[in-house]
Symmetry: C2
DNA sequence: AACATAAACCGGAACTGATTCCGTTTGCAA
DNA sequence: TTGCAAACGGAATCAGTTCCGGTTTATGTT
C-alpha cells in the first residue's frame, strides 16, 4: 500500500504541491461511490472494479489514489478514525489527558473495542486485504499512545511489547470470529481486558 | 477451507471409508513437491499452480485435498504441529500435565511462541490466506487447552475470552511484523507475556 | 492574456494467482 | 465383470494489481 501523499497544510501555507483539481474531484467520486456500495451491498460487494465503474473512473485511478483494497477500506473509515484519535489525544478524560495512566489505558481499550466493533466489516476487510495491512494504518498511532501510557503506569516494563499484546486481542479477525454467533460480546471482551490490566492496577 | 476428511484409525479399525490409493499417492506427491518448493524458493514461490505442476497433478486435485492455500500451508506444518500438541497434552511437565496451572500456562505460551517463530513464514501464509483462516486450524486446540488451564488458575474469570486474549499476541502477522527489523525478539515477547500473566500469578 | 511544458493524472487492457466447474477416468467392492 | 462414488485434470472464472500510451492541469513565460 502506498497511496499518494499530499502535503500537510500548516498555517495556510502548503508545502511542495497541492492536489490537482481533477484528482480531488475523482477522490470524492470514488469515496462516495464506495460508501454507496457498502451501504447497499455490504463490504462483500466492494470490489475494486465495482467501485471504479460506479465512480465512473478507471481502476488505475483508484489504485493511484488509495494504493490497494486495504487503503480504500481505511479511507472509508477515515473520518471516524480522526474523531477517535482526537478523542484520546486531546479529548476529555479519562480517554484524553488529565486522568491517571491506568484509567486512560482502560478507557482507551474500551473505546477501541467499541470503535472496532462498530465498523467491524470494513476493518476486517482493511486488516486482511494484505498480510500485514493492520500495521500500516492507524495501528502505529494506537501503539505509540498505549506505549506511552504503559510506560507511565508501569516504569521498567517493556511498554513496547506490552502495547502490542494489549492491542492484539482487538484485531478485527478475532473479534469478527467471536462476536458472530458465539456468545461473546463487546462487553465480555472489555471485561477480559480489564482482567488482564489487573497486573498493572495493583 | 474444507479439505477432505478421512476417518481416524482407532485400534486398527477404520471407520466409514478409507482413502483411495490414487488419492493417497497424490497427497504424498503434493506435499513432497510443496516442501521442495518452500525449501528452494521460500513460501513466496508456493503458488497453487506451481505446486500442482511440480507434483504432476491438476490444481483441482490440490483443492480437493487441501481445500485452499491456507489448508496446504497447514498441512505442511502438520507434523511439527502434532508434536507440539502431544507435548502440551501428554508430555512431561511443566508443559504437560503434572505442574500447577500457572506454570503450565506460562510454559505453554513460551512453547507456542517458539513454535510460531520457528515456522513463521508458513504460519503467516496459513493465517492470512483467508480472513479467518487462523481460527480453523490448530487454534481451537490451543484455545481449549488454555481455557482449561485458566479456569483452573483463576476460577470465576472469563477463561474463554482470556484465552483468546493471551493467544492473540502470538498471531503470525504481529510477530512477523515485530521480529523483522525491529529490535523485538522472541525472548522479549515471552517476557511480555509473563508480565501479563502477573495478574494470574498473584 | 495566451502559450508552452513537464509533472500528474487518467482509463482500461493485460497480467497474476486463487478458486470453481465439470466432463472424464479410476479404484473398490459386490 | 460391472456400477458408481470418489478422484482427476485443466479450462474457465474472478478479483486484485500493474502497466503504459494518451490527457489534463498547474505554473512559469512571453
Amino acid at each position: 500500500m502506498q497511496a499518494v501523499q499530499y502535503p500537510v497544510i500548516v498555517n495556510g501555507i502548503t508545502s511542495p504541491r497541492r492536489e490537482r483539481a481533477d484528482a480531488a474531484r475523482n477522490r470524492v467520486k470514488i469515496l462516495t461511490a464506495a460508501a454507496g456500495i457498502v451501504a447497499t451491498h455490504g463490504v462483500e460487494g466492494l470490489s475494486m472494479a465495482e467501485v471504479a465503474t460506479a465512480a465512473g473512473v478507471g481502476v488505475g485511478t483508484l489504485y493511484r489514489r488509495f494504493g490497494d483494497r486495504s487503503g480504500l477500506a481505511y479511507a472509508l473509515i477515515d473520518e471516524r478514525e480522526r474523531e477517535f484519535q482526537a478523542a484520546f489525544i486531546e479529548g476529555p478524560p479519562p480517554l484524553g489527558p488529565g486522568a491517571e495512566a491506568t484509567a486512560r489505558i482502560r478507557a482507551f481499550l474500551h473505546a477501541l473495542t467499541d470503535r472496532t466493533v462498530e465498523q467491524l466489516d470494513l476493518l476486517l476487510m482493511a486488516e486482511t486485504a494484505a498480510p500485514l495491512a493492520r500495521f500500516g494504518g492507524a495501528y502505529d498511532g494506537y501503539h505509540a499512545h498505549l506505549s506511552m501510557l504503559i510506560a507511565q503506569a508501569r516504569p521498567g516494563a517493556d511498554a513496547y511489547v506490552l502495547a502490542d499484546a494489549l492491542l492484539a486481542p482487538l484485531a478485527a479477525p478475532l473479534l469478527a470470529h467471536r462476536l458472530r454467533g458465539r456468545g461473546v460480546t463487546a462487553e465480555r471482551v472489555k471485561a477480559g481486558l480489564d482482567d488482564l490490566l489487573a497486573a498493572f492496577t495493583t
